[in-house]
Symmetry: C2
């Protein structure tokens, strides 16, 4: 797709916004509003009893508290794996040993460049880091089958959390 | 969470952007950049041979073509179910009979209000509507197990498509 003209609208702490005029396959022009986002990493972490480590926090887009797997924004120059290790220590106080990739996804490819890298670990060592100054997070441990029931019941409604948990259930061949 | 001050930055064709200053639980102030989005609907549609109907189109956020389940934006005053029926006719040319809810999700609740309603149908009647003037969509039918393999292989990377397909596989109790 050919970009004909771009206008930068806003550059903020997390997101940038631009409006692009693109040339469609039929030659006509169309407008696309696009968020530029640094990308993120999220981790499905199971403890030795097959509990999944979730965090609960207020999210302004949902206007309420959500259950989520630990996650955070990629910092400049940081690899996704380094980000996964840092965020787990900050958000749940554990450092992962072996991290396995679960791939990744675009949450909303129609209007944001955000890509979320997903990891899985069953190998946790207690090693806390200070939380971000403006994050207020409660850590919740739930048996994996109970977390899957919360997806079915519509209590877990966050994209990375649904995808991460269902990929792990699928990959582990769990019959839930 | 209490909003202390809000500044509207942009109002576009699909998204609006505002910057909110919020009061954190510890009394400090923090900034949140928030996209206001009309919400969307997406549908997992299986034909009588258990093929899933996918669409392939260029997505500016991914900067490439993606496989997706049929989906579209909610119009003003439109119910999610009416939107599902309209979008299926526009994008794949079929009208669904019975539609079953698969719940919904927030793709990126940290910075966008978008909520995607998910539906499932196995009941398709040929009944095309004209496509949107600025959409260029190729329809692809794939056996459901092959679509799941494309998720595992990282060829399907769109949030609503991964969530819709894995929820259907899980709900139908398919062993793939």
């Amino acid at each position: 797709m050919q970009i004909n003209h771009s206008k930068q609208i806003f550059s903020g702490k997390v997101v940038k916004l631009a409006v692009h005029e693109i040339r469609l396959p039929d030659g006509n022009l169309a407008v696309r509003e696009l968020i530029e986002h640094p990308g993120a990493v999220a981790v499905v972490a199971l403890d030795s009893q097959q509990n999944v480590m979730l965090v609960r926090q207020f999210r302004i887009g949902a206007n309420r508290e959500l259950y989520e797997i630990p996650a955070g924004l990629l910092e400049a120059g940081e690899t996704p794996e380094a980000c996964a290790r840092r965020e787990l220590r900050e958000e749940i106080g554990y450092e992962p040993g072996r991290l396995e990739s679960l791939g990744g996804f675009f949450p909303a490819a129609g209007y944001t460049t955000e890509y979320i890298h997903l990891y899985f670990t069953r190998d946790l060592i207690y090693s806390p880091l200070a939380q971000d100054r403006d994050e207020f997070i409660e850590v919740v441990r739930l048996p994996l089958p109970e977390a899957v029931r919360l997806i079915e019941q519509g209590e877990i409604v966050d994209s990375k959390t649904i995808i991460g948990l269902l990929k792990v259930v699928h990959q582990l061949g769990l019959r839930i």
